[in-house]
């Protein structure tokens, strides 16, 4: 009997969020016939790309027990740099490479400060966010520029299709698969998780914990660079502080994801679900002409509901196991 309840609780804790997600989809699809159309599904997925990509980078960082907020400023900075380059007539390949390089350099600097000098990752990346905001204003003068006015060719990256799927979706799902396989299947990926669980266990067997940690910051920097690239192309221009909304949403997606599949642990399928969750709610409500100010309200309620299910059930599991 107890074993049965325990298994049931475990099931709820792991799949409660997925269940809530499905309920939301069902409700929305009854509410609006258009919701489950292929066009709208593509719409949701494309909208999720920059958040999803960003949240994957953040998941890597949070998995090893650190935090990185730099993406919130990096997105805007990359947008400003991109527009400068496009206006100067650089080819799309150079633009993409420079954007990704900015991410890598950012990750490298953070790695040196946090891992090399032992500074707090929260403070360092908070500072990085401010610095990037300042640089963005310095480069872009706080003016919104639209890409189509200068060079439309680079926009094809987000507007093009590969088979039936728009390229952004493929980028997001591809990165998801890559991160997921890397983290769950490779040695380095497992060490990243081990770092967050017990760093001494990693050090004791002679592994270079600092190198792994630093490398993860750099990899996350690259992913954040990609985030800035996708976000700017998706908007179609550089808007002031364009990455700011990501700050809370990416953290939200990662936290929400930790309440799914592997209750209490950060994991990539959970993060993907968390990111999709946000945009599904936005989409479903917008589609039904719900006033914009209700959207965060409903998102907040869903967050509490999803976390409540898993937390309450998890508490019982622990009690049963003792």
């Amino acid at each position: 009997m107890n074993q049965k309840t325990n298994n049931w609780n475990k099931f709820i804790a792991n799949y409660g969020l997925l269940f809530a997600f499905i309920v939301a989809i069902i409700v929305f699809s009854f509410w609006s016939g258009h919701f489950l159309s292929w066009g709208n599904i593509q719409n949701i997925l494309v909208q999720t790309t920059s958040l999803g990509v960003c949240a994957f980078g953040l998941t890597l960082i949070m998995m090893m027990g650190e935090i990185d907020l730099s993406y919130a400023g990096l997105t805007g900075l990359i947008g400003a740099v991109m527009l400068k380059m496009i206006m100067a007539g650089y080819s799309p390949i150079w633009v993409v490479l420079v954007c990704l390089a900015i991410g890598v350099v950012s990750g490298l600097c953070i790695a040196i400060l946090v891992v090399g000098l032992g500074m707090s990752s929260f403070m360092v990346t908070l500072a990085a966010w401010f610095i990037y905001m300042g640089l963005e204003r310095y480069i872009g003068h706080g003016v919104t520029h639209w890409i189509y006015k200068y060079d439309e060719s680079i926009l094809q990256i987000v507007q093009g299709h590969l088979g039936p799927l728009p390229i952004p979706i493929i980028v997001m799902l591809g990165l998801f698969l890559l991160c997921w396989l890397f983290q769950t299947r490779t040695r380095t990926g497992q060490y990243i998780l081990a770092l967050g669980e017990n760093i001494e266990a990693v050090k004791e067997v002679g592994l270079k914990a600092k190198l792994i940690k630093g490398g993860t910051f750099v990899a996350a920097g690259l992913i954040f660079g990609l985030t800035g690239l996708i976000e700017t192309l998706r908007i179609g221009g550089s808007m002031v502080y364009s990455g700011r909304f990501l700050l809370v949403y990416a953290l939200g997606a990662v936290f929400l994801g930790s309440a799914a599949f592997k209750a209490g642990k950060y994991n990539f399928p959970g993060t993907l679900l968390g990111a999709l969750f946000f945009y599904t709610i936005i989409n479903g409500l917008t589609l039904n002409a719900v006033k914009f100010y209700y959207i965060p309200l409903v998102q907040g309620l869903f967050l509490i509901l999803a976390v409540a299910i898993t937390t309450v059930k998890r508490g019982e599991i622990e009690q049963v196991q003792f």
């Binding site: 107890n2 396989l181 299947r185 490779t186 040695r187 497992q190 998780l193 081990a194 669980e197 017990n198 001494e200 266990a201 990693v202 050090k203 004791e204 067997v205 002679g206 592994l207 270079k208 642990k265 009690q319 049963v320 003792f322």
Partner: protein, 512 residues
């Protein structure tokens, strides 16, 4: 200088004039330490003597401030952990440095996981690779289980198996038996015997005399960061060894005193400490020290925590001085006058980043040191803590020292001192002397006996039969969550007690 090395060709680990300084402390002071090939070398000393520091220097987790280190003829000064492991040196830590959510197999093969062509970890091969090492040390650990689901004792065995993966020629064990139950301890000793036969050099740190004499050939004694001596075990009696360790003569190992026992203080009825076991009931009287023994996993700690309300209590009735208590949480227990000194002192008993002063007055703050229930009476607080530090002979530079910087023994004294200041009527001690040196144990025993002499009721939970027999008036034996035997101390011998602890039955004991 060079001649000393040539004289002893069989010396494989040679540390000379090693010094290590931590802020405010000289951890090691010009220590010479030599280990010969194939021997089992015990490293003993009180807590804070520098044993663990010296071993961490050998393993290159720390680097010495001065001194030279040769391992297997090679200068190890600039090596890192990986190179040391390649030399064949493995260290089994006192702390369980495992990844809780990984499987046993993965933890054992940590750092050397086999991978397939795609660079993915090959789970099947991982298991096959880990299995023989686990088999060396234990046959009843599930290799697919997650480490977090294992008992502490089993986890410690996993760390031993992990050390073997490096194919060590030299094996350092830092208090390996402190967390092991009786059965696992025997398994470890069998394993160490096999190691000796195959010529592996062993450095063994322990606080248990019988183990040292059972396993080791030579002994090095450290005291206050200095080497006192190295000698063969035959040349050193246990009493002499202890004398060298503490630097002062211990008159009696344990201060056993006759206590006057009064009325029933606490009566426990139908308590379900563990889910699958039967309910248990017992009484505790004024001035009595009641021992609870049993191997790890027998449910001793669970009893303590159930009474204290630290876990949601599993039914049962608890009466204090005849009055029924409803304890829902630790605060309720503290208010009712029950104090618990928990087993995992770093996790459960201490705020390790706070000062001794704040830690010690935490439990009694509201009752004794508050004016108007709000402002802390700082002067009185400081006086009380100063007195405790003196009474309990705590080794600390000041009462503002952070708890994490103290030695294990002193930490435990802080935890006990905290509850003594709260002036409770019932004290529950859960393995209070685990990992503590002889002198520290003596001080703690004395604190416990004093409590009982002053009329408090004491529940003393321990895995060490000797101290239970020396201290307790009555002994409850637990086995797999059940109360299997109640014994009056005067009428029981050690082997009888051990028989019950290991799960022996009454009718078989006398006949066979």
């Amino acid at each position: 200088m060079g001649t000393a090395q040539n004289d002893n060709v069989d010396v494989v680990i040679k540390a000379s004039l090693i010094s290590k300084y931590f802020p405010g402390v000289v951890a090691l002071d010009n220590v010479d330490f030599e280990v010969r090939r194939g021997e089992s070398h015990a490293l003993v000393g009180e807590n804070g003597a520098g044993k663990s520091t010296l071993m961490k220097i050998l393993y290159r987790e720390y680097s010495e401030d001065t001194g030279r280190l040769y391992i297997d003829g090679k200068n190890a000064k600039d090596m890192d952990i990986r190179q040391i492991r390649e030399l064949g040196l493995s260290l089994i830590h006192q702390d369980l440095n495992l990844v809780p959510i990984f499987t046993v197999a993965h933890n054992i093969c940590m750092g050397v996981e086999p991978v397939n062509r795609l660079g993915f970890i090959d789970r099947k091969e991982l298991k096959q690779k880990a299995a023989p090492f686990l088999q060396e040390i234990s046959s009843d650990i599930d290799i697919d289980a997650r480490v977090q689901d294992l008992s502490i004792s089993q986890q410690q065995l996993v760390t031993v198996a992990r050390a073997l993966v490096a194919q060590p020629k030299f094996l350092i064990l830092d208090e390996p038996t402190a967390r092991l139950d009786q059965k696992s301890t025997e398994a470890l000793f069998d394993f160490l015997d096999r190691c000796k036969q195959s010529g592996i050099t062993i450095i063994y740190i322990s606080h248990r005399l019988e183990e040292i004499y059972r396993i080791c050939d030579r002994i090095t004694v450290l005291r206050d960061g200095k080497k006192i001596l190295t000698a063969a075990v035959e040349e050193l009696t246990q009493a002499e060894l202890v004398k060298h360790m503490v630097g002062r003569e211990l008159k009696k190992q344990v201060p056993k005193e006759e206590a006057s026992i009064g009325e029933v203080l606490l009566s426990v009825r139908d308590l379900h400490p563990m889910l699958k076991a039967e309910a248990i009931s017992f009484d505790l009287r004024f001035g009595e020290i009641l021992g609870i023994v049993g191997s790890i996993g027998a449910g001793k700690s669970e009893v303590a925590r159930a009474i204290f309300g630290a876990d949601r209590k599993r039914s049962g009735t608890i009466r204090l001085k005849g009055e029924k208590l409803r304890i829902r949480n630790p605060r309720g227990a503290i208010n009712a006058g029950i104090a618990l000194v928990p087993e995992e002192r770093r996790q459960q008993g201490l705020v390790i980043t706070e000062s001794i002063r704040k830690n010690m007055t935490l439990a009694a703050l509201k009752k004794k040191f508050c004016a108007g229930g709000f402002w802390i009476k700082q002067r009185e607080e400081k006086e009380a803590v100063k007195k405790s530090i003196k009474d309990f002979k705590m080794a600390t530079p000041s009462l503002e020292q952070e708890a994490r910087l103290l030695s294990g023994g002193t930490q435990q004294k802080v935890v006990i001192g905290k509850w003594l200041l709260s002036e409770s009527s019932i004290y529950i001690f859960d393995e209070p002397t685990k990992g503590i040196d002889v002198g520290g144990k003596h001080d703690i025993y004395k604190m416990i006996v004093d409590l009982a002499t002053n009329g408090a009721g004491v529940i003393f939970i321990s895995n060490e039969l000797d101290e239970v027999l020396a201290l307790c008036d009555r002994i409850l034996v637990m086995f797999r969550g059940q109360l299997v035997k109640e014994l009056v101390n005067k009428e029981v011998s050690k082997d009888e007690l051990l028989y019950y602890v290991m799960g022996g039955k009454d009718n078989e004991s006398k006949n066979k």
